[in-house]
Amino acid sequence: MRVTFTVNGRRTEADDVWEGESLLYVLRERLGLPGSKNACEQGECGSCTVYLDGATVCACLVAAGQAQGRDVRTVEGLAAGERLAPVQQAFLDAGAVQCGFCTPGLLVQAHALLAATPRPSDADIREALSGNLCRCTGYEKIMDAVRLAAGRRAGAETDPAGAEGAS
């Protein structure tokens, strides 16, 4: 089947999609967007978190056909051209990136958290990111990164790419 949808602001078509394929597979293998990661493919690890019509989902649990006509934003769509989103820069500055496999999913989820709750408490951050597994960092620096991004936002910085899903 053919799936037509918007990915990172661009109208996109994927042809010859088999009915059993996930949105994750289509993004990664058909559209050349491997940023969303394939760590468990059963919605447990959060590594493939993307925005679907502005809400975060595990792309591995979305059948490709469900994306028909909808709006998808992946980690590749967080930066505005060369300029990283504040949450991406904060992950770098805080040393929250080690192997980096969980990073794309965490970034999308943290991006969504900060859009909804600009000044999250530690408990808010932990709750929001509890569906994203990381095996390297012990989460300490991920906490630091989200606090840093929130602090910088409070310092009047705005996300050039917009907090909500681009359309």
Binding site: W18, G20, R28, E29, G32, L33, P34, G35, S36, K37, N38, A39, C40, E41, Q42, E44, C45, S47, T74, V75, E76, L78, A79, L84, Q88, Q89, F91, L92, G95, V97, Q98, C99, G100, F101, C102, T103, P104, L107, A123, I125, R126, E127, L129, S130, G131, N132, L133, C134, R135, C136, T137, G138, Y139, E140, K141, I142, M143, D144
Partner: protein, 785 residues
């Protein structure tokens, strides 16, 4: 909040200077921007025009004879390009990291649940899976050997490997056995010297590395009849060494390049999909990509050895250890992997970081039909640490003594003699680390936010039945490969002028698995050559082996190789100066390279590095070896086995809901000695990550194996700590330089994974009063149900 406490700075050699982004700074990861953009290519992200997908058919039985394999239906499926069994292997049919005992594809029998039997290549991963399901394998199922102790006994149920079948070191089901005897050992005479004796047995479950990036890679057949493999691994040269005989190709035709690695923790030290992908690529003449599913990942790599440990500690009334006796039984599973080295670690580090006059430790690993076990962060020291630290708490209770005080009283220090007879010839701040975690402020009492209760908002408690406890532990881990292993690394460093500016390039085969080696190597080049612009070439087999990214060794050994190669480059720079400008040896001995210039010690600029290079690059390749170690004596365990030791202490604070059996780790504080922090941010990241894995082993992580079958190969059922399970961690890093190591540094990756587990369990014991002799601690252990 993490904080670091700088200790004594390590003495740097006179020719190095501090450099921006150099040694000692939290330089940024060179791969960081790509990783946050989602543009970094992990093994599973690789793509090639015309590529096929490979998959593996695995045994549903832990022990069976294979009577027949019929691939007819699988081959007939449209889109299938190859279905291969052991009959299609051109070369040797067995491989192994230390002992060549593992079939590439099962031949006449299977020995564990999940053993590879056949491989398939197809044009879509689902087609490959469906084809694999159509391979008909006729099994004669046999009763599995499930118990290590039973396996050791007489082989009543037969042998996992027939006696004499492989180069097993002992007859029967024993993979390896190691004794360590010090003083008089443990005799009745020695026991009589102790006022207090504690004896207990402990058990450690099967933990998994659970790295997030699945086993993956892409094999591309080459025109010369060879193959290029892009793969996520820990040690490309060890893969290559094992692959060449199987593929029947010389090393120059089996070329490996490191793909992005999504964590490793020991689980990628053994081969997984490497040789399978190459077989399929060579057979079909097309690129073949293999990416394991999460379930297959649980079957596709070795796990941490489950262990039973019987310990006996004797001490005097004033809290001095008199003797320690221990029997450590490790379940090695169906194939040897690195079991022998794990046994060596468990035996030689089996009493912990303590001075003990009389010791009798015996450790052994056994073949069973359980999943194969091998390397995981902490490597044999983890299991022992849980037991000896539990024993120290028991001993403290029996003596009526503070558990930290008891540990400090017996703590190893520089100059102490280990049970192996090895003298500790570097700082060993064990007591200092313990005091530092003890003296940190305790977290405040639990607040009323239900998200902070054990189990979180989803559970019924509102604080009733919740009790708090505090526990301590400390551990010792070796750095590098031990017992006489030729533990070397190779580095190539190139220095040239580009556009009038000196630039350097560093090339090693060291696997970057997330730990930050790529950052550290560039930092060393900046420091040694005074060059700001440094790039790292992708790791591949085009340069000599760097050894494994494991055993906390890469910063020491490959870092040492990069430093040595830089010294050779620097010597060549000075040689040019001698030729061109007539510098005398005297002058040269006072020169340093800094900020792209050659500078005398008084700060006078002698030459611009770019002028001196003048279009001609300098490239040097060097091998670095740490000082040699020796094999342990088989009967007594005596010998200089470990080149360096590394220490970490933890304090855990837990809240336990005694009605629901739920544990909330409130805080996990750590103190560790790093010798010198080459990259402080990376050191903290290692301590945090190791502590979280130790916490996981304490309260949740276990591969459940029943009748030799794996019951929970998924992230739904194998639980690793989430951000809600992982508490704030206060980390205190000491820097006590090791005079034998480059820059005085000490490997940091593993030590924190040892003591977190016993510290958390000690805290749960303190909260509940329960004995808790097994990890992971499950709710039923706390509620008695």
């Amino acid at each position: 909040m993490a904080d670091t406490t700088p200790g004594t700075p390590a003495g740097l050699p006179h020719t190095t200077v501090s450099a921006p982004g150099g040694v000692g700074t939290s330089a940024a990861r060179p791969d960081g921007v790509l990783k946050v953009r989602g543009a970094f290519a992990f093994g599973s992200d690789l793509w090639h025009e015309d590529m096929l997908w490979g998959t593996t058919l695995r045994s549903p039985h832990p022990r069976a004879r294979i009577l027949a394999i019929d691939i007819t239906e699988a081959v007939a499926l449209p889109g299938v390009h190859a279905v291969l069994t052991h009959e299609d292997i051109p070369g040797e049919k067995f491989y192994g990291l230390e002992i060549t005992d593992q079939p590439v594809l099962a031949i006449d029998r299977v020995r564990y649940h999940g053993e590879p039997v056949a491989i398939v290549a197809a044009d879509h991963p689902e087609t490959a899976r469906r084809a694999a399901a159509r391979i008909a394998v006729e099994y004669e199922v046999m009763a599995p050997i499930t118990d290590a102790a039973e396996a050791a006994d007489t082989g009543a149920n037969g042998h996992v490997h027939e006696p004499g079948e492989y180069k097993a070191r002992e007859a029967g089901n024993v993979v390896h056995r190691q004794r360590v005897v010090a003083g008089l050992g443990v005799t009745d005479e020695v026991r009589a010297l102790a006022d207090v004796v504690v004896r207990h047995e402990y058990e450690v479950g099967m933990q998994d590395q659970a790295f997030l990036g699945p086993e993956s890679g892409l094999a591309v057949p080459a025109e010369d009849g060879g193959v290029d493999l892009y793969v996520a691994t820990q040690w490309m040269h060890a893969d290559q060494r094992q692959m060449c005989p199987v593929l029947g190709l010389p090393p120059e035709k089996v070329r490996l390049t490191l793909a992005g690695v999504g964590g490793a923790f020991g689980g990628r030290e053994d081969i997984s999909m490497q040789v399978h992908a190459c077989l399929l690529a060579l057979h079909t003449g097309r690129p073949v990509k293999i990416v394991y599913s999460r379930e297959e990942s649980f079957f596709g790599h070795v796990h941490r050895h489950p262990a039973r440990l019987a310990y006996e500690h004797g001490a005097t009334r004033d809290g001095r250890l008199v003797y320690v006796g221990a029997r450590i039984s490790l379940d090695g599973g169906a194939y040897a992997s690195t079991s022998a080295a794990v046994v060596g670690n468990a035996a030689s580090l089996g009493v912990g970081p303590y001075v003990v006059p009389h010791v009798a430790v015996e450790a052994a690993a056994y073949y069973t039909n359980n999943p194969p076990c091998g390397a995981m962060r902490g490597f044999g020291a983890v299991q022992a640490c849980f037991a000896y630290e539990s024993q120290m708490d028991r001993l403290a209770a029996a003596l009526g003594m503070d558990p930290v005080e008891l540990r400090c009283r017996n703590a190893l220090q520089e100059g102490s003699v280990l049970p192996t007879g090895q003298v500790v010839d570097a700082p060993a701040p064990v007591a200092e680390l313990l005091r530092r975690v003890r003296d940190m402020p305790l977290p405040p009492p639990a607040d009323a936010d239900p998200r902070n209760f054990p189990g979180g908002v989803a559970n019924a408690t509102r604080g009733e039945g919740v009790v708090r406890g505090v526990g301590y532990a400390v551990g010792v881990k070796n750095v590098g490969f031990s017992e006489g292993f030729d533990d070397y690394s190779t580095a190539r460093v190139r220095l040239e002028a580009v556009g009038g500016e000196p630039v350097a390039e560093v090339h090693t085969a060291a696997a970057e698995v997330g730990q930050g080696g790529v950052t550290v190597h560039e930092q060393i080049v900046r420091t040694e050559l005074g060059v700001g612009r440094v790039t790292g070439r992708p790791a591949d087999t085009g340069v000599g082996s760097a050894g494994s990214t494991s055993a906390s060794r890469q910063t020491y050994v490959t870092g040492g190789a990069v430093k040595t190669a830089c010294e050779a480059v620097r010597a060549a720079v000075f040689e040019r100066g001698m030729r061109r400008y007539g510098w005398s040896a005297d002058v040269v001995s006072g020169l340093v390279l800094t900020a792209g210039k050659v500078v005398a010690r008084d700060g006078l600029v002698v030459a611009e590095l770019a002028d001196l290079l003048d279009g001609a690059a300098i490239e040097e390749t060097r091998v670095f070896r740490h000082r040699p170690t020796r094999a342990l004596d088989p009967a007594t365990g005596q010998g200089f086995a470990h080149v360096q030791h590394t220490f970490c202490a933890h304090r855990a604070v837990v809240d336990v809901d005694t009605e629901l059996g739920l544990v909330k780790v409130v805080e996990l504080a750590a103190a560790q000695d790093a010798g010198l922090m080459v990259n402080p941010a990376a050191v903290l990241g290692q301590v945090h990550g190791g502590s979280a894995q130790g916490l996981g082993l304490a309260v949740m992580e276990e591969i459940v194996v029943a009748d030799a079958r794996v019951r929970n190969p998924s992230f739904t059922d194998y639980l690793i700590p989430t951000i809600l399970d992982t508490p704030p961690m206060r980390v205190d890093v000491l820097e006590c330089p090791d005079p034998h190591a480059p820059y005085g540094l000490r490997g940091v990756g593993e030590a924190s994974a040892l003591s977190a587990t016993p510290a958390v369990v000690a805290a749960i014991r303190a909260a509940t009063g329960l004995p808790l002799r097994r990890v992971p601690v499950r709710p039923e252990h706390l509620t008695g149900t």
